[in-house]
Amino acid sequence: MGIDLGTSNACVAIVENGQPTVVANEWGEFNHASVVSFLDDGTVLVGNDAKRQMIINHENTIYSVKRLIGRFYFAEEVKKALALMPYHIVEGPNNSVRIAVRDQVYSVPEISAMVLKEMKAIVEAHVGHAVRKAVVTVPAFFNDNQRQATKDAGRIAGLEVLRILNEPTAAALAYGFGQNMAQKVAVYDLGGGTFDVSILEIGTDVFEVISTAGDTYLGGDDFDDRIVQWLCNQFGQQFKVDLRQDKYSLAKIKEAAEKAKNTLSESDVAHIHVPLVYTDAEGFSYDLDADLPRNQFNQMVLDLVQRTFKVCDEALQSARLTAADIDGVILVGGPTRLPVIRNSVRHYFQREPNAEVDPDIVVGLGASIQAHALLSEGTQTFLLDVTPQTLRLGTVGGYSEAIIDKNTPIPIDRTRTFTTARDNQEKVQIKIFQGEGRRTDECTLLGQFEFSGLRKAPRGQVKIEVTFEIDTDGIVNVSARDIDTGQEASTTISLSSGLSEQDIKNAAARHENIQVVDRAPEAAADVSARETAMLPAQDDETAVNRPPR
């Protein structure tokens, strides 16, 4: 199966009779909110029903965790999330991010694992047997920490992750699947929380990524937030109350903002009405009413839209192409339905974006194609992807030097030689980073490695060859050996945002016991009655019962 694990929505697809197909859950939904809600009675809801808990159960309903995955607690992005999210983000061991819900503390991959588990269950219900092997997609611009954490999430969910695949690449795979084309395409992928652009060359049997660029903290959520801030300001001016102080009000406004944004995809104006948004000390309740014209919304998000085109410039420049060289533009992600995005993309590339691709499911389809290709013999197409950010080695004084440049095809490795600086030195420590700045504080720390057990010798006599590898998942592996003796040094990662092997095992064991459902029992009865009433003839697909979980 191929899983698109998005910031806001997840989607799962399989290849059936040679055709990639999105699998719907038993209620016929293709897209499932990447939301996990922990109820009073210990039930864990995942998906669209969990999303409905965002207001009434806002402290225990976790969403947009993809914005936190693989980040250190001290990261800027985490600070932004702390201010915005109604759930409790706490600091865990090794500067990691944890989420506290009721009396439990979860790591970020554990929350993602719950969503993945739900996708697994949807496929299993459809095919009628256990399915373990999956390709999981990530934004192309994700760094090593974020990829590793996503892979960990897969393992916690009991999946065998065949490949971590870049979302724009997956989209291009689905676009070019069985088409026999020769085109240069640009994939403009604006998701719930991340933005990516990839430039690919598609040939008869090859999908070659030429360059990729992105911003892992720019997406539909930020568009919603602009509306939220505007609504709060309006309300504040009118009633002298700051709604941002009240997480319950904020959750309600956020929901209304998202709805308004979606309305503006079709209408020129969105009427926003949030009843009983605020109750004052005397028990008097206020409603929030506002009209948001499309033009005003476009103005509000103009800088965000412009930011996406800076990223496009960067990708084209790295590919040594101009917008005019591009033969096709593929739009991916829900926010690309917004007219302001469509128009700007048309203007930038001077061509109509491809209309046949469904921006909500194309990544899932591509992931399933890749999963199928990896597991079958005689696959004729091949995929050449690149690393999105420069891999760097920390040197003295807060500087770094590049080891593997961005947009280098993968898999690849490079070696560096180090010599001991002291007599009888037993350890060598290195720090590695990803990013484009020469200064390490402009880059993301991936980890600190320690190579120990070096042979005892006067300084300068022991030469250590360190190999930096970027594998087909875009994940960095580091190993070291003594050049003269050929002996491998033992490697320990002394600082990393990730989970240890033991953490993953513990989490996986804990998850065996958590009952994850996508409908609360009473709601389920309700909805299925309604669905049956609405759909006179149900096909076999939706009639299959889920295996017991």
Binding site: L162, G203, D205, V206, E208, A373, L374, L375, S376, E377, G378, T379, F382, L383, L384, T408, P409, I410, P411, I412, D413, R414, T415, R416, T417, E469, D471, T472
Partner: protein, 181 residues
Amino acid sequence: MDYTDPSYHPQLKQLAATIDQLDYYEILNLQQDASTAQLKESYFSQSRALHPDRFYHLPDEELKTAIHKIYKRITEAYVILKDPQKRAKYTADVNGPQRQEKLRFNEAAEEEAKKEQEEAREVCKTPKGRKLWRTVEQDLRDEKWDAAYRNLQSISLWEPGNPTIAELKATVDKKRKGLTK
């Protein structure tokens, strides 16, 4: 050729073990004077045959490790050879006396290539000339034409055949005379 066929597997494992003895041209099966288009075509055809994804479904882990090793070297060969400056340096290296140590384009080669490039960009080739050139640059910024002319004259003593210096000397001379008039 379908290398996933078991009859090729011993050969592939052998290749992985000995790949350190091949240069990038040999890895990509190319002549040293191959064009950029040929380079890309060869990278594609090697990828078509040897990309690890094609071997993913096979159970033999040893083979997959071997393929991974071979393919990483194919990518490396392509990355270095598609960069004209690196390619020039690399080609000179593997045809030189230190061929055995230069089969992989490592950090030392990169440093050397960078240095050579910088030297090629520099106006003056001799140590004395370079030192005087820095003074000239300052003189030109300060519009001290007489001083600049004197220093350029000194440089041309050290580097008589330097065309840039001769040309600049003529220009500065005009400026100098223009001002005194």
